[in-house]
């Protein structure tokens, strides 16, 4: 047999572009959940990946409204700009928005400054998420995780099974072939579904650019009040941030590559104020996206452990 012919020139039925393929795959996954789940929900973290997820959902079910609500697990320590963005977008796209806060944690005054990042994340994020899933009895929760983000995700399924205790068992995953997904679960168990598993960071940016998807302004450089802590640039977003004696926030041109709790999210110095500029910086950048996330700084297996314990 001879080598296959080279690809045809783009025409009416040329191969779809990679973004079109990724979009179609995500839509297929969302529809599958809508058809088979009893009580699905879309986790919404307000970041760029979540923004893409929302956009895909509104395409998947058009002209219907997406047949599931959004759930924002609010640690109460997000950037103020994120809260603003969240409320505007949910309304614009016609989603029902559920906000869940771990009230026990609030009562105990849990926060990143007083309790450290590990305890704060566990109580206000991981535990809070479990509380919300239990409270509303969601059987399927969409997440915006990507396989290129870190090592343990490369092997995670698109439909990722969780026990009634919300645990992920990496040794016991269901085989996943073609695009046929096993959605059968027992009462109390649930499935996390990751429609953008196969997207890379660049795909996300490129899609945001192509589709003109609104994202929080934190992704763009602006003069912001920041302090340096352990080599990270932390924005002083409100007056809950304790400053050392003599420590003064200075105004610097910075932006964020990922968004989370403001005290735990490092900024990068940047002059990129438009989307193409942000993408340009990303393309020439020399460090991976998650560097800004304090949670990953421990050994590479830490994310896997967290996930087994029920972190998304």
């Amino acid at each position: 047999p001879a080598p296959a012919r080279p690809a045809r020139a783009p025409g009416a039925f040329a191969e779809m572009s990679h973004l079109d393929r990724l979009e179609a795959e995500a839509i297929h996954i969302m529809r599958e959940v809508a058809a088979e789940a009893e009580n699905p929900v879309m986790l919404y973290s307000v970041g760029k990946d979540s923004s893409v997820m929302l956009h895909l959902a509104s395409k998947a079910f058009h002209p219907s409204r997406p047949p599931f609500p959004l759930l924002h697990v609010d640690t109460t320590w997000k950037f103020r700009d994120m809260y603003r963005h969240r409320d505007t977008i949910a309304k614009e796209l016609g989603f029902d928005l559920i906000v869940h806060i771990n009230e026990d944690g609030v009562r105990q005054g849990v926060g990143p400054f007083t309790h450290g990042s590990a305890i704060h994340t566990d109580i206000m994020k991981t535990q809070a998420l479990k509380q919300a899933l239990d409270k509303y009895k969601f059987d399927v929760a969409f997440g915006g995780a990507r396989r290129d983000e870190e090592k343990s995700r490369a092997k995670e399924r698109i439909f990722s099974f969780r026990s009634a205790q919300h645990r992920w068992d990496p040794k016991n995953q269901r085989p996943e072939l073609w695009d046929i997904y096993n959605t059968k679960i027992h009462k109390g168990e649930s499935i996390r579904v990751f429609p953008i598993s196969n997207w890379t960071e660049l795909d996300i940016w490129q899609y945001i650019y192509r589709e003109r998807i609104p994202i929080p302004t934190l992704y763009f450089a602006k003069e912001r009040p920041v302090v340096e802590r352990d080599g990270s640039i932390i924005m002083v977003d409100d007056d809950r941030m304790p400053l050392a004696k003599g420590e003064k926030p200075k105004l610097e041109m910075v932006r964020f590559r990922t968004l989370g709790c403001y005290p735990l999210t490092g900024a990068v110095r940047s002059s990129a104020t438009t989307l193409p500029e942000v993408i340009q910086e990303m393309l020439v950048s020399t460090s991976s996206e998650r560097q800004g996330r304090t949670i990953d700084h421990d050994q590479s297996a830490s994310m896997e452990k967290k996930k087994q314990e029920g972190y998304f």
Binding site: P3, R5, A7, F13, F61, P175, Q280, E304
Partner: protein
């Protein structure tokens, strides 16, 4: 600096526009341990500069610490060298990696598992367009090479790249390469690949990866990456007849009724004539709706919503097909099945079968033969174990729409789900329907079930007594039958012991035999219900899936599960037949409650514990249930 960075530094908008149009290719790499698979994938990731400096720094550190290449970078560590994972004993079964060039985005399925190789490779291959089969130039075509190639062909991969690796260790010898190529082509000719390209490589040194190597001037084929960038794989699907498996019916309001799904083959335009399988209803396409406006045409892989000119009934599970070339439909078909679970496949057991868009119950009615994946020889067998491939007959409870897998991977595939654990236990590829042109009709008899039942003044049903040995099933069943007889009703009792002496005397007590035992009893009960009788079945029937099979064989409301829930301790104390004592002494194997499980019913219509109620009262309760629910008109 990577190609991306270089381009972007100049003009990012031009870069974005160019990259928006690149296509996508999914491939799988297959090789035995140490053929250099990880090195090759690591090399591709590295050479396309998809690594950031922090990742590179980690790689360099790891290379020094645990690498096998001295001071050189050990690319293999990028993909399988996760020390932390190894320490934790976590193996990767299937991982997906990404890289891209100016022309294409690539998704690589990486399946390093060795014990579960068939299962993992099949998983990766199911979505791959191309397979790279690695061969160590020093070793040539091995048993494993055949196995990898067979699995690729079984899963429908049409394009093969034979990467003959470690050419540096055979002095880039053309003779060595030519011999391997000839050997490979000779054996692969029967596997039905559309293209085979052999490339001499050194994954370690980078020969013929990005560009043609000076070390192999005699090689007149392409280098690996340029070939992957240009190979065309899309044509087959776009030229096939139109198929849209309906995933979701889109009904925002009474004025709009759309059918959403991902086009599995062919193309569609407004005005096209369509036919719905299995219903056979016809219409024409009115519009292709997307949030960005209506489309003039759509093709394979696109996720769309169609509206039709006529109001016809279509639901999830149907396939909208080209009017002139519809998919087939059947409830009995032959398929190749790969078993993926530790718990063996049992012919006759009820499983869930999920196709592209539909879930039905069904059973593997017969294992015709197994396939030895190393030699491709056919072997006989009763069951399939983990990683085994079998050619099977399948029967489903409802007709499904399908195309043979060889024609369409999306509409010809299914997964098999265990009804009790919900695990995915197997996968299958449909070969052909076993029904010839639908001319096998059920004998339509003039005197039917309803007529027979009416003449007996009763509604026929099965009273299915389940519970441990000695729980009191037969005692209660006998009392109920006596009462019904006194009331002038027509009944029959199928009892475990009686049936085992006759109809089922060829069966033992292995799990497979227990399933077959219950299947035969259920079929017999079904015929008796058809005859208009009230059938009392008294069987331990320990497995939920078999009781469910029995339930689903008869009509709605014709199955009444009576769970005799007398606890094990009481049954064992009674030990009327002395069986528990024997089982405890190990003289009887697979005895329910002792060394074989009993799965208690979750939704039995009637539950009674004979250690708490007298048998006579239990019988009364059952007869009352029949009266109250209209069985004894």
């Amino acid at each position: 600096m990577s190609h991306a960075a270089a381009a972007a530094a100049n003009d990012v908008i031009a870069y974005l526009d160019a990259h928006e149009k690149k296509s996508m290719l999914r491939f799988i790499t297959c090789g035995s341990v140490d053929d250099g698979k990880s090195t090759l994938i690591g090399r591709l990731l590295y050479d396309t500069k998809l690594l950031y400096e922090d990742q590179l720094a980690a790689l360099e550190a790891d290379s020094k610490k645990v690498g096998t290449q001295g001071d050189k970078i050990d690319f293999a560590l990028l993909v399988d060298g996760l020390a932390a994972e190894r320490e934790q004993g976590i193996t990767i079964d299937v991982a997906y990696r990404f890289f891209s060039t100016e022309k294409r985005k690539f998704i690589v399925a990486d399946t390093p598992g060795h014990e579960q190789y068939t299962r993992n490779m099949a998983t990766g291959a199911s979505t791959a367009d191309v397979a790279i089969i690695l061969i160590d130039a020093r070793q040539g075509v091995l048993k494993q090479t055949r196995r990898h190639s067979y699995i690729c062909s079984l899963l429908g991969i049409r394009h093969i790249v034979v990467a003959i690796n470690k050419m540096d260790l055979v002095d880039y010898s053309r003779a060595a390469f030519d011999k391997i190529e000839a050997d490979y082509r000779a054996f692969a000719s029967k596997l039905g690949f559309q293209s085979i390209v052999c490339i001499p490589l050194s994954a370690l040194d980078g020969d013929n990866i990005l560009e043609k190597s000076r070390n192999t001037r005699w090689h007149n084929g392409p280098a690996l990456l340029p070939y992957l960038e240009t190979i065309e794989v899309a044509s087959d699907l776009s030229e096939a007849p139109f198929r849209l498996p309906v995933q979701w019916v889109n009904r925002p309001n009474l004025d709009f009724r759309g059918f959403s799904g991902t086009i599995a083959a062919g193309a569609v335009r407004p005005g096209d004539e369509i036919v719905v399988v299995p219903s056979g209803r016809r219409s024409t396409v009115k519009s292709i709706v997307t949030r960005d406006g209506e489309l003039a045409a759509a093709g394979a892989h696109q996720a769309v919503t169609l509206t039709l000119a006529d109001e016809i009934d279509i639901s999830r599970g149907d396939i909208i097909c080209a009017g002139k070339a519809p998919a087939e439909q059947t409830d009995q078909f032959a398929a190749h099945i790969i078993w993926m679970h530790d718990e063996e496949m049992i012919p006759g057991r009820q499983y869930l079968f999920k196709t592209a868009n539909r879930m039905v119950t069904g059973a593997i009615s017969e294992l015709k033969h197994k396939v030895n994946v190393n030699t491709l020889e056919h072997m006989s067998g009763k069951t399939l174990e983990l990683n085994e491939v079998g050619f099977c007959n399948v029967s489903t409870s409802a007709a499904i729409a399908f195309d043979p897998y060889a024609e369409n991977r999306k509409t010809g595939s299914f997964i098999i789900i265990d009804r009790r654990t919900n695990n995915t236990v197997g996968v299958g590829m449909i070969d052909f329907s076993l029904r010839r042109a639908q001319n096998v009709h059920w004998q339509d008899l003039d005197v039917n079930k309803a007529a027979r039942a009416a003449s007996k003044h009763q509604r026929p049903c099965v009273l299915w007594f389940t519970g441990l040995s000695g729980a009191g099933k037969s005692t209660v069943a006998n009392l109920v039958e006596k009462r019904l007889c006194d009331l002038g009703r027509h009944t029959y009792t199928l009892d475990g012991d009686n049936v085992r002496h006759g109809l089922n005397k060829d069966l033992g007590f292995t799990d497979a035999d227990r399933v077959e035992n219950i299947r035969r009893v259920s079929e017999t009960a079904k015929l008796m219900v058809d005859a208009g009788l009230i059938v009392l079945v008294s069987f331990i029937s320990p497995f939920q899936s078999e009781r469910r099979m029995a339930r689903e064989m008869v009509g709605d409301g014709e199955f009444i599960e009576v769970y005799v829930s007398t606890p094990l301790s009481v049954c064992e104390k009674r030990d009327i037949k002395g069986l528990y004592a024997k089982a405890r002494r190990g003289e009887i194997k697979n005895f329910t409650g002792i060394d074989s499980d009993y799965e208690a019913p979750e939704n039995a219509e009637i539950t009674l514990d004979t250690s708490k109620v007298a048998a006579a009262d239990a019988a009364t309760a059952i007869v009352e249930h029949l009266k109250k629910n209209g069985y004894l008109a």
